[in-house]
């Protein structure tokens, strides 16, 4: 069970959080302009990386805020957390 450093509350047990899938997938501003394939790309296609992955989490049993997590899926080490709207760390 991870310890996640919520950017608003600090370190908490994983059981207080809920995972929300891959991060930085922006909902298209004009969905009607998209072809079926483009829409499907947004709707269904997700990466499943062994290694560094950017993902969304929400402190569901805490402050209820969404934020981003950089996690190495091979060993579950969390490399960074940052708020929604912030740029992902480059290193």
């Amino acid at each position: 069970m991870f310890v996640i450093d919520c950017p608003y509350c600090g370190e908490r047990e994983q059981s207080e959080f809920k995972a929300g899938g891959e991060a930085h997938i922006v909902r298209p501003k004009q969905p009607t302009e998209l072809s079926d394939d483009q829409w499907a790309e947004y709707l269904f296609m997700r990466k499943n990386i062994k290694g560094i992955q950017f993902e969304r989490w929400v402190h569901i049993h805490g402050c209820r805020k969404w934020f981003n997590v950089v996690r190495d899926t091979s060993n579950d080490v969390i490399k960074a957390v940052y708020k929604m709207g912030e740029k992902p760390p480059t290193n």
Binding site: R27, P31, L34, D36, W66, D76
Partner: protein
């Protein structure tokens, strides 16, 4: 006739405290401090069980949690019965009753023993191969296989004991209280770390505390007295918590460990009442020091599993710690110096040692010299080739090993004995370390896996790190602790340690025999009856991965999880397949390290505490009026109110009729309620619902349908505009939390620019819904100040009002098709408002109705229930609800998905009404719908989603989803049931009052 094999007094055994216990129905005596195993051995009992597959007689093999054979059932047939308890761990208490497992009718005469003679027919994979054909017979085979599978019997009565869970946060956790663990815990605690020290045993000090301490000296004292002083000191440390009888079951990522603390398992049953039996500790440690020690390896030779054959270290422990001799004529068989330590301890206690068989040839050490001096016959360069005695070993035969150790040479020598100690060297207990994600490396010189890469802030110290002698451990410990704890000094710099142990070892994974290999039974995994032959068979049949060999042969499965047999399986694979041990790796050692009871895992979450449930503020009234309840999410909802012994059907028919003929009342408090405020509230609703919201006037209500981004219906409910920037949304009862979560997600991540605030107010309001043709008369008496005329208060509108001093919000909305008013009041007034409605409604026969009637009434009107008539594959178009999907809005959640190539297909499953040919026949919900039953395979068109007998229409009605159903109006379809077919006609899903006349009647 049993003997007494208690030898010299041991300070760990209290001989003034005699304890009686029963084993297989016979009463025996032991002393306080005994385990069941030591007490049985003191009574000269070795045979305690039968092996799993071949039902071979098996005895006590070890003196710890790695025990594969001596597994017993406690208190058979009582509520406290427990299977698979290791006799080597169980401390005896007055009244203990234990019995053997896996044998019938008794451990001495076991019919399953026939399997032993059939064993040539039962090799690895026997079940896979034999019962594959003919495939249709599997069900018959399975019955018999299942009967013979499994070890003990699980309890059938409720567990009378109390269990609990506890969280512990500490700076340093030390696992294992042997000498390394004690010194590490003391160092950590003295340097200001909040430290927790746990050990599975009842005493501290590990093996050092009872070992033959004249052999080991620390600073010129014998090692056990030196360690005893350290133990007395750590007991006084404030920063240190010590928990004995606490077994770490699992080591997860981020230094999260689960441990079982056993509190009452060692005290008499009659003293356990109202005490917590076991605690599941959930430990989060900043740093973890693993000091889990090592396990002695057996040796693999023909018939190495007879009762009376024990690990050499176990014999030493029984002699030194419990003062028990395991036999009167002992032989030690070893490939390293450990066997001589045992011999020396036995000699000191006056226990006879007949001989020592040593695989090593040209070898000398202080320990060997001592054995020679004690006139013990030593066979150097020899091996045991066979053992004799069915229920207890009585003889062994030994032969000389060839130079390469692959063959035996010379003539066979027989040695009589009643106990054989075996030592194949030591295996670090790295199970927990690998559970945490740690990677091992193989050390060639002594053929052991040791920790290599640590995945978290932890280290392994002592023999679990491959340091097997006291001088090795104590010379490296100070620097390791300094580095790990980032401190400058320990109390243990430059200790003077004397040890007489010679580290040489002659490792032969599978010892040769004079018999042909196919005739030998050399057990590798005692618990699962896996032999060396099984491993080789698996290799011959092409298995190479250790994980596959494990599954095929069952080596290292069960409670063993690679404790005893694993290394030899690897060794034999390595030799046979000519692969390096390090490349093969080990199997995955899974948690729990030792088995946990279900009681410990569930803790206090049993009975009514199994899951939380929510009650409405009106719940008490429903209970008092004999409602039956159903679970909706976590809510207990009134289901129906049986009157005078009514069955459910009759109650529902009565309630449904009353609601349409006069008046009904429903507790709707469980509906999800979300308060929405902010200048962009209207825009937000526009984006989350399929219909338009901007033009909804203040004081008006509107039904909304919410989709997922994939276009599928997610939730529905009525939302009311309370003010310019203020709405209250209702959701389905079960969907309240997830809808709020989803809306928050969009708000925070996709549309942070919107000025909108969401608050869950589900629990803040109680909702009383009064419906029926007389509802208006009732509510206008309940709230006399409000003008209920249709002009002032039309359908789909809302009013603020007061009942006396109680503020309330009244929505005129309907889920039944009847005129209907929902009165929302602050939760704690809910019951009084309900009672007031009941009292005033009496003259109109106001009838409380539950969820079942609610479902029936809405089905008459063709209103859907999200989650019953829909699953995650229904679009609003599929539901024939095109009217609610705005064509004008540029975007809303799920809009784009409504015209994907898949969602616009004509032959999707669509919601339709179904009418049965026989109006009295009620369909089964979930029944399949087909058009043609002659064609094979029969094409499934859909299924029935809702079905009732309508007392108002006097016929059976149903909703269902049917492929292409929209264009099938009037068509005949078939519902095939087990014994009959039911003919149905596709109909409009609105069965009653399509013109909505009743809403304003």
């Amino acid at each position: 006739m049993t003997k007494n094999l208690r030898v010299k007094t041991s300070k760990f055994i209290d001989e003034t405290y005699k304890i009686s216990f029963k084993f297989n129905g016979t009463t025996y005596y032991g002393y306080k401090g005994d385990t069941l195993a030591s007490a049985l051995l003191a009574n000269d009992i070795h045979l305690v069980g039968r092996s799993f597959k071949y039902h071979r007689p098996r005895g006590i093999m070890t003196a710890g949690s790695e025990e594969p054979n001596a597994i017993v059932q406690l208190h058979s047939n009582s509520a406290r019965t427990e299977p698979n308890v290791r006799a080597t761990e169980l401390e005896i208490y007055e009244g203990l009753e234990a019995s053997s497992q896996n044998c019938w009718p008794s451990v001495n005469f076991d019919i399953g023993g026939i399997n032993n003679f059939l064993s040539p027919l039962l090799p690895a994979g026997f079940y896979y191969k034999t019962f594959m054909w003919p495939a249709s017979f599997w069900e018959k085979y399975e019955y018999f296989i299942r009967k013979s599978a499994g070890l003990g019997k699980s309890p059938t009565k409720p567990d009378p004991d109390i269990y609990e869970h506890k969280y512990i946060h500490c700076d340093v956790l030390v696992v294992g209280a042997g000498i390394s663990g004690i010194l590490a815990a003391k160092t950590a605690a003295k340097n200001g770390f909040k430290t927790l020290l746990v050990d599975e045993k009842s005493y501290l000090g590990g093996s050092t505390i009872y070992q033959n301490s004249e052999k080991y000296r620390i600073n010129n004292q014998n090692s056990s007295s030196w360690l005893e002083k350290e133990i007395n000191e750590i007991k006084k440390l404030k920063n240190l918590e010590i928990k004995t009888r606490t077994s770490v079951a699992a080591f997860h990522g981020y230094n999260f460990l689960l441990a079982r603390e056993s509190l009452t398992d060692h005290i008499p049953l009659n003293q356990r009442k109202n005490k917590t039996r076991q605690r599941l500790l959930k430990i989060r440690a900043k740093k973890v020091l693993m000091a889990t020690g090592s396990l002695e390896r057996p040796l693999i030779f023909d018939n190495n599993d007879r009762p009376g054959i024990l690990l050499s270290s176990a014999i030493e422990k029984y002699a030194n710690l419990f003062g028990v001799a395991c036999g009167e004529k002992n032989v030690i068989f070893t490939n390293n110096d450990s066997g001589y330590e045992t011999a020396s301890s036995l000699f000191q206690k006056g226990i006879d040692v007949q001989a020592i068989i040593d695989n090593r040839e040209n070898i000398d050490s202080k320990l060997i010299k001592e054995a020679e001096k004690n006139n013990i016959k030593i066979y150097k360069g020899y091996t045991v080739v066979n053992t004799f005695g069915y229920k207890r070993i009585n003889k062994i035969s030994v032969m000389q090993l060839s130079k390469d150790g692959q063959k035996v040479v010379g003539s066979k020598i027989s040695i009589a004995c009643d106990c054989l100690g075996i030592s194949g060297g030591w295996t670090p207990a790295v199970h927990l370390f690998t559970q945490s994600g740690g990677k091992l490396k193989f050390r060639d010189e002594d053929q052991v896996f040791i920790p290599d890469k640590y995945p978290s802030d932890q280290i392994s110290i002592g023999s679990c790190n491959g340091e097997f002698t006291l001088d090795e451990i104590l010379s490296s410990l100070p620097n390791k602790l300094k580095e790990f704890l980032n401190i400058t000094k320990t109390d243990y710099e430059n200790l003077e340690v004397q040890s007489s142990y010679n580290k040489s070892k002659r490792n032969i994974w599978l010892l040769p025999s004079d018999k042909i290999f196919g005739k030998t039974k050399s057990f590798i995994d005692y618990q699962n009856d896996a032999t060396a032959r099984d491993i080789k068979l698996a290799l011959r049949e092409g298995f190479r991965s250790i994980e596959h060999v494990k599954r095929y042969t069952t080596t290292g499965m069960g409670t063993d999880q690679g404790k005893l047999g694993n290394m030899h399986a690897l060794g034999i694979i390595s030799e046979t397949a000519n692969t390096k041990m390090g490349e093969i790796g080990t199997t995955t050692f899974r948690p729990p390290y030792t088995p946990l009871t279900f009681g410990t895992i569930v803790g206090r979450n049993v009975g009514e505490y199994f899951d939380i449930f929510r009650k409405t503020p009106i719940h008490e009234w429903h209970v008092k009026n004999k409602a039956e309840f159903e679970n909706v999410g976590q809510w207990k909802r009134a289901w129906f109110y049986p009157k005078d012994g009514e069955k459910m059907h009759d109650a529902v028919q009565r309630e449904s009729k009353a609601a349409r003929d006069s008046a009904g009342i429903l507790d709707a408090s469980t509906l999800g309620k979300i308060d929405i405020q902010g200048t962009d509230a209207s825009e937000f609703l526009n984006r989350v619902y399929t219909n338009a919201w901007s033009k909804l006037a203040i004081g008006k209500c509107r039904y909304g349908l919410m989709l997922n981004e994939d276009g599928m219906v997610y939730d529905d409910g009525v939302t009311t505009r309370l003010d310019e920037n203020h709405y209250i949304m209702t959701t389905t009862t079960g969907g309240a939390a997830t809808v709020l979560g989803k809306l928050e997600d969009y708000l925070q991540t996709e549309w942070p620019e919107l000025d909108v605030y969401l608050t869950s107010v589900t629990d803040h309001y109680a909702t009383v819904s009064v419906c029926g043709p007389n509802s208006k008369k009732i509510v206008s008496q309940v709230i006399p100040d409000l003008d209920f005329s249709d002009d002032n208060f039309p359908h789909m509108s809302f009013k603020n009002a007061k009942i006396g001093k109680i503020k309330c919000r009244i929505m005129r909305i309907s889920f039944t098709g009847e005129q209907s008013y929902e009165i929302n009041v602050q939760a704690n007034y809910g019951k009084s408002v309900w009672e007031k409605c009941m009292e005033i409604g009496k003259e109109f026969n106001i009838t409380p109705y539950g969820t079942e009637t609610m479902h029936l009434l809405r089905a008459e009107k063709g209103f859907i229930i999200v989650g019953q008539d829909t699953d995650a594959t229904m679009t609003p178009i599929d539901l024939q609800m095109d009217w609610i999907v705005s064509k004008k809005k540029y975007d809303f959640i799920g809009k784009r998905s409504l015209y994907r190539s898949d969602t616009i297909k004509e032959d999707r499953k669509q919601l339709v009404g179904l009418l049965t040919e026989n109006p009295d026949e009620v369909l089964e919900e979930g029944a399949q719908i087909v058009a043609d039953i002659r064609k094979s395979p029969i094409e499934m068109l859909g299924h029935v989603t809702s079905s009732y007998y309508s007392p108002n229409l006097k016929k059976s009605i149903a909703l269902g989803v049917v492929r292409g159903g929209k264009n099938m109006m009037g068509q005949k379809l078939i519902i095939p049931m087990e014994n009959k077919q039911i003919n149905v006609t596709v109909a409009d899903p609105v069965f009653l009052d399509k013109e909505n006349k009743r809403l304003n009647a």
